[in-house]
């Protein structure tokens, strides 16, 4: 199945919803790892929008990217509650452990604020991280 056909399927799946663009873009991002120009054009055609409109939405949200990045991702919370529990002191070690192999993404709040520092890999969350635990998490990501 071509990319355009697959996007057509995704659009058809959400077609009956009100305001379907965000669910569609989430599925496109999940399926292809990004929302590139080709995908934006295909979604725009299917919804009778301009590509500019779709690009405007896709570029607004942090979860959407315009190019694929196959590296594993580790999300590290660096919001105030995790700062209060010392995440800044271990962030450098995390960066070094990640190097170029792991994409270390800063997020603001995973909702584990009484047990930080906290991180997320895929749909698994981790709390009470110290430097060693965080480095291990990144190395095994």
């Amino acid at each position: 199945m071509s990319k355009a056909e697959r996007i057509g399927e995704i659009v058809a799946h959400h077609a009956s919803r009100e305001g379907p663009l965000l669910p569609i873009l989430r599925d496109v991002q999940a399926q292809f790892g990004c929302i590139d120009e080709e995908a934006e054009a295909a979604v725009a055609r299917a919804l009778n929008l301009t590509r500019a409109e779709v690009h405007g939405v896709a570029s607004f949200y942090h979860d959407f990217t315009d190019a694929p990045d196959p590296r594993p991702e580790v999300q590290l919370c660096r919001a105030e509650a995790c700062q209060a529990r010392g995440v800044e002191a271990i962030a450098d070690a995390a960066r070094q452990a990640a190097g170029d192999r792991v994409r270390l993404k800063t997020v603001y709040c995973l909702g584990l604020c009484s047990a930080g520092p906290a991180a997320r890999v895929g749909d698994r969350v981790h709390a009470r991280l110290d430097e060693a635990a965080l480095v291990r998490l990144i190395e095994t990501a």
């Binding site: 305001g19 939405v57 105030e80 700062q83 709040c109 909702g111």
Partner: protein, 504 residues
């Protein structure tokens, strides 16, 4: 077979609850996954025949089972942290299986909805007005008045939108409720739908909460027939903090950029797709199911202080020894919350400051810890209670750095629609840097002869402090929404109370 109850709340999972559950299952126990009591320092908390143990790791299993474990904490429901609370919204926390309709019904579930549907819509609205319930998302607007506006508005369709985009650091009550007691939220939405005449509801939930997404999806499927003909759809966000602002959230639901809309028109008159829309926070809607049960409104109204009625699920977070969820009537002081209940800092060092109300909330000095938890009292002290998050910092915190972070956060999350927020936040971070550096020399352009109005002697620290105060005033009064409008709270509260952290 020994029955073992372990939470499947995301925080418990993050602390290894699945591994502990697996170890108990291996040991031949019957493991039941329940919601969390909200005593986070004890997670993973294990409950066997009414007795609690925590925090339990897989290695503790045999000791817990043979009674020799030193992790015993007694019956969780009698623990002082729980006994001191008055839980209405979180009445089921720790006690029921989140996705069990039987458990929900056995603990009074659907009573509010049944009673609401036996009443005329206007009566339902009147009861919510009478209860004194105010929006728990942060603004504290009376929920009943909002409902009355939507009920009276004319439109082709009406919507109930649940704001579950809980992005504030230090808050997790929405997440706990959605993961631990999802039917209560669904019931509250169905009551709201009956009260205002809405046929469709949306829950806008942030993508950072994968467990809440899964729980709510399942709960919505299970409760579909009960709330019918009202329909609820779950929509997942895409990582934009500003979408927690109600008009930005509506734009996002419509499939647009999450940019803030100018008000008026209020969403209650012209909201989702231009139709009258109730936008309420998770905790507001969940509280409604208690209020609409027999005698609920009067009970709710009897609690609290001043114009802040009922209970507030307060979230104790950051550098605190006993962090977790603490639901009490309004009026409790920060000193009680942090010293008596929270047990001081996790690090054991003195408390230096506390941020209440998320990234846009003021930093509060220990001198002011007698402030009662109340919307008006906080507003009078140039602070806000927001969503009830309390983040504790010990004396190692650099308040200048926190002020800079507040500006930086605003710059990163600004939707870009209004200038004070979009530009002010970036300039604000730069000014904080300059203040901390003690001012700056005049640059090459400023020293040019033709720059008649530019100061030739550079700018002193005091000049930059005045500039920051001026900028904050502009952001506060000129921004479209609370993101730009409230960022001055943490910045100025830090600057005024801890000037020594700003190079003075």
């Amino acid at each position: 077979m020994t029955k073992v109850r372990i939470s499947d709340d995301a925080l418990a999972l993050a602390c290894g609850a699945d591994e502990v559950a697996e170890a108990f299952a291996q040991a031949g126990c019957d493991v039941e996954r329940v919601s969390s009591w909200g005593m986070h320092w004890l997670e993973p908390l294990v409950e066997i025949e009414g007795k609690g143990f925590g925090p339990v790791g897989p290695d503790d299993v045999s000791a817990v089972l043979d009674g020799s474990s030193d992790k015993a904490v007694g019956p969780p429901g009698e623990h002082p942290f729980i006994a001191l609370q008055q839980r209405l919204t979180f009445a089921r926390a720790g006690k029921t299986r989140p996705l069990s309709l039987d458990d929900y019904e056995a603990t009074g579930g659907w009573q509010g909805l049944k009673r609401a549907r036996s009443l005329a819509p206007e009566q339902v609205v009147s009861e919510v007005v009478r209860s004194g319930l105010r929006g728990r998302g942060g603004a504290g607007f009376p929920a009943g008045i909002k409902w009355r506006t939507v009920a009276a508005a004319t439109g082709a369709r009406k919507y109930i939108v649940c704001n579950a985009d809980e992005g504030d650091s230090g808050t997790f009550a929405d997440r706990m409720l959605m993961e631990g007691d999802p039917f209560q939220l669904i019931e509250g939405m169905a009551i709201a739908a009956h009260a205002v005449g809405a046929g469709q509801g949306y829950i806008y939930l942030r993508s950072e909460y994968p467990h809440a997404i899964a729980k709510l999806e399942s709960a919505l499927a299970l409760a579909q027939d009960i709330v019918s003909p009202f329909k609820i759809e779950l929509r997942v966000g895409a990582g934009a903090y500003v979408c927690g602002e109600e008009t930005s959230l509506l734009n996002s639901l419509e499939g647009r950029r999450g940019e803030v809309r100018a008000k008026p028109p209020l969403p209650a008159i012209s909201g989702l797709f231009g139709c009258p829309t109730v936008v309420n926070n998770v905790l507001t809607l969940a509280a409604v199911s208690h209020i609409l049960a027999e005698g609920g409104a009067a009970h709710y109204e009897s609690l609290g202080t001043g114009r802040s009625r009922g209970t507030m699920p307060i979230q104790l977070a950051g550098n605190i020894r006993h962090g977790g969820l603490f639901e009490v009537p309004f009026g409790i002081s920060l000193r009680e919350l942090i010293e008596d209940i929270g047990g001081g800092t996790q690090s054991g060092r003195p408390v230096k400051s506390v941020q209440v109300g998320g990234p846009l909330g003021a930093y509060i000095h220990p001198d002011k810890f007698d402030l009662p938890f109340d919307y008006e009292a906080y507003a009078a002290a140039d602070a806000l209670i927001g969503h009830g998050g309390v983040v504790v910092f010990d004396d190692t915190v650099d308040m200048g750095r926190q002020a800079r972070f507040a500006m930086q956060f605003c710059a990163e999350e600004s939707c870009g629609k209004c200038t004070p927020c979009r530009l002010g936040s970036t300039r604000g971070a730069e000014i904080v840097d300059r203040i901390r550096a003690g001012g700056r020399q005049a640059d090459r352009v400023e020293t040019l002869a033709q720059m008649h109005n530019a100061p030739k002697s550079g700018r002193s620290r005091e000049d930059d402090v005045a500039l920051l105060e001026d900028l904050c005033e502009t952001m506060r009064d000129g921004s479209l929404c609370a993101l730009g409008g409230f960022t001055p709270f943490p910045v100025l509260s830090a600057l005024r109370q801890w000037p020594e952290d700003f190079g003075k």
